[in-house]
Symmetry: C3
Subunit: 339 residues, 3 copies
């Protein structure tokens, strides 16, 4: 039994390097099930309450399928209007009632700390699927897991890596949580590239410096990427700027496409993005012309989300060592794995 | 085979004292499965059509999970817009088509008697999950089941009990159906407490009197509760009053909190509420400060909903005697039962 | 292994007479499972991604239940707002990500050719559940399958049949796809009955003529039905007409009810309709008074949709010969089959 059994997963702050390794080890064990080489019914009969009080197709379906892949059932709730919350019910009451109906809950909610509040009333483990501007810990975990897998695949490691975070570093909860997790590793060189209006908050920078890592700060993409092992792009929403004139100043400045990549990056610089991306040319974000590039990891990154979520379900429900016991063959046509 | 196999559950009027006992006996048998002490796959492969043409998160999820707990699959439809009903299709057509797709249907709809209408076209059993102002029979059943369990737990019984119904007794379909069911028992003392504008309808009062029970009517909470075994609270919606002045007159008059309870109630007066409640202080409904009181039964009441709905599925599909035959162990972490 | 294993089902154009026969043979094998005489768990553990970017209760539930009937799990997405598509994500990206989460996808989308576009990024088979004005191939297949079953039931066959298509033949994608499939058979007499403003497009008529079939064109129902084997009705939406005056000219002219049927049709003329129908008297479409007529096939037609979709899932996942291997008994109450 690990520390995770029966516990909530609410924040990256509750995770140590040891617990990260535990999660990643279980995530690796999930690979053959996700790839349909075989399947496991370890959670046959268990029920996931998939509560998305804020819609998010990708994350919702990823949680739901992760649970199905372990053999469990999923009961879903999508949207706020459909919920008693709109009638003045407390999150505590909602949690007390809905948690009776399932064995584990994955929850997204538009308000910061709402998932933590809900967890206090829940009788079953709650996994935070994103609570407003606060956290989205499974995204941070899948990002870190991807960084590790991609680097190990080419003989590198997180310790000593050069990681460039690009785009909206001010409002992107993803990069804040990821930075916090990366701080637990050794000798990382962070290159932070953003418009000055959307720079990384001081407290995150302080955390990175206090952990002894190196930071380079820049407001332009070019010239800062030639040593990067990881290039983590995020979307810049123009409405974040004080004026359209400010927004215009930066348009196209943080765009990545095949030509820019070839010119400015090492050939094994891994390209990541939390998705969705706007891949239309005028969006100036991450163009389609890198789609078949072997260093484009954005789809493997999404695939890894499934492994991480399967691992978290297995750990919180304490079945991570019973996977093989409930294995069965896959008797239908199944897709071929990418790399 | 009981009278329920293959039948619809549309109204409390179709239930006799015998059939109530049948339902409650099966509901009791569901307890270990709901508590995850063991599980049953008796409905493995069966399909519930969970049709919520009016949203209701709590009731919808309760039906869905009850079916999952018996091993079955759930296919859901939520909202009217998504439905062909908005294109002028008759409920009969909708029922003929959708009932082919499942083994049993749970249905909520905003219009009175719509579920009955639908049932005429259905080829499978239909359970009424609430049809507008008309009925919500599974709520009445879970309320009655809770009253029985709570009283028996403290050595009392429904026969001879003193039951106070409080709040909006005019528009609350819940209290009407519950009163009808209670009429089948003996020597009950009903205390009906509401604003005069929201008093219990005459026909319900006539039913209670014709069944030989005692009625006390009051317009204030205090002074009427000191002998009550059950205190069943319902929400008063201010828009029910003819004017805001009228509403203001009653604000706070039907509120229950720890201080009022201690002053006016026996220490074993069971507190019930159909939920959701507005537990904010200014709501004047049922405060949070009773949350840990052992007589607060509102969450056990919600839990009982699961047992009642499991029982109704088992009975309408005729598997109530096969539960043990399809039992399996629970191999994952499971929550501890409350009392 | 058939040509279908691992393939997309995007258009009726990809189907030959041989492949139609393959689909229909498998659909026939699905009958005892759909009727609950027995069940099969051949897809136990498989996941359907049921992506309805445009709502359609009937089609969505039909796909979902078809998959459940084969033992599989269903993860659903309904509506556009809930999707990343609204943030400028390409269908290719959406497909790459979401297709990792399931073994097969059924998809409806309001835009023509969107499902084909999506399929290019998908790593699993995609079945078109309707892409705007373009196609709805499973509807065409279930229509053709119904025509065949109904005719064979009364000793007739598609070859040599007289088939009347009635209503909005201009915008009804259903009748276009069905006509294309019927062209593969022999010696069919098509009677095309519509307002002149809503006549069958020239390219469909050319296809029918090039395939050597006979065509009669008319703008009124009466007088053209006395030799019809099949009467396929579709809805006329009044907003299709250039003016309300034009619409008024045709009101009631294409209505079918018991009296009109008895007067103008052979007693074994099979009545079909893709549903939903507006069966209200003022709708002038297809009245309720034929509901118990043995030649009214509209509900059997909907039932056949389940068989066709089960067949397509079995074929694309390559399990059509393993159904019996995973059979189990049905241990709950089950509806009686209609004819």
């Amino acid at each position: 039994m690990t520390q995770f059994e029966g516990s909530h997963i609410l924040s990256v702050n509750q995770l140590s390097l040891d617990s990260l390794n535990t999660i990643f080890n279980v995530a690796h064990k999930m690979t053959p099930y996700a790839l349909r080489e075989k399947r496991t019914k370890v959670l046959d009969g268990a029920i996931l309450g998939n509560l998305f009080f804020e819609p998010s197709t990708r994350t919702r379906v990823s949680f739901g399928c992760a649970f199905n892949l372990l053999g469990g059932n999923v009961r879903e709730t999508v949207g706020m209007a459909a919920s008693s919350l709109s009638k003045g019910e407390s999150l505590y009451d909602t949690a007390r009632v809905l948690s009776t109906y399932s064995d584990v809950i994955a929850m997204r909610h538009p308000e910061s700390y709402s998932v933590e509040e809900f967890a206090k009333g829940s009788r079953v483990p709650v996994i935070n699927g994103g609570d407003g501007a606060n956290e989205h810990p499974t995204q941070a975990l899948l990002d870190l897991f991807t960084i590790q897998k991609e680097l190990v695949h080419s003989g590198r490691s997180i310790d000593g890596a050069h990681i460039a975070l690009v785009g909206d570093l001010k409002y992107g909860r993803t990069v804040h949580s990821l930075s916090r997790l990366l701080c637990m590793y050794k000798d990382i060189h962070f290159t932070l590239i953003s418009p000055s209006e959307l720079a990384m908050p001081e407290y995150v920078i302080a955390d990175i410096e206090n952990a002894g890592h190196k930071i380079t700060i820049s407001h332009q993409l070019e010239g800062n990427l030639n040593q990067a092992d990881i290039l983590y792009l995020t979307r810049i929403q123009e409405e974040r700027f004080p004026s359209q004139e400010e927004a215009n100043k930066y348009r196209g400045k943080f765009r990545l496409n095949h030509s820019i990549y070839t010119q400015h990056c090492k050939s094994n610089t891994v390209i990541m993005h939390p998705l969705p991306r706007d891949s239309r040319a005028q969006a100036n974000e991450l163009d389609n012309d890198l789609n078949s590039h072997p260093s484009l990891a954005i789809f493997r990154q999404a695939d890894n989300g499934l492994l991480i979520r399967m691992a978290l379900f297995a750990l919180t429900l304490g079945v991570e060592n019973q996977l093989e016991k409930y294995e069965c063959p896959v008797n239908w046509y199944s897709r071929k794995a990418d790399r």
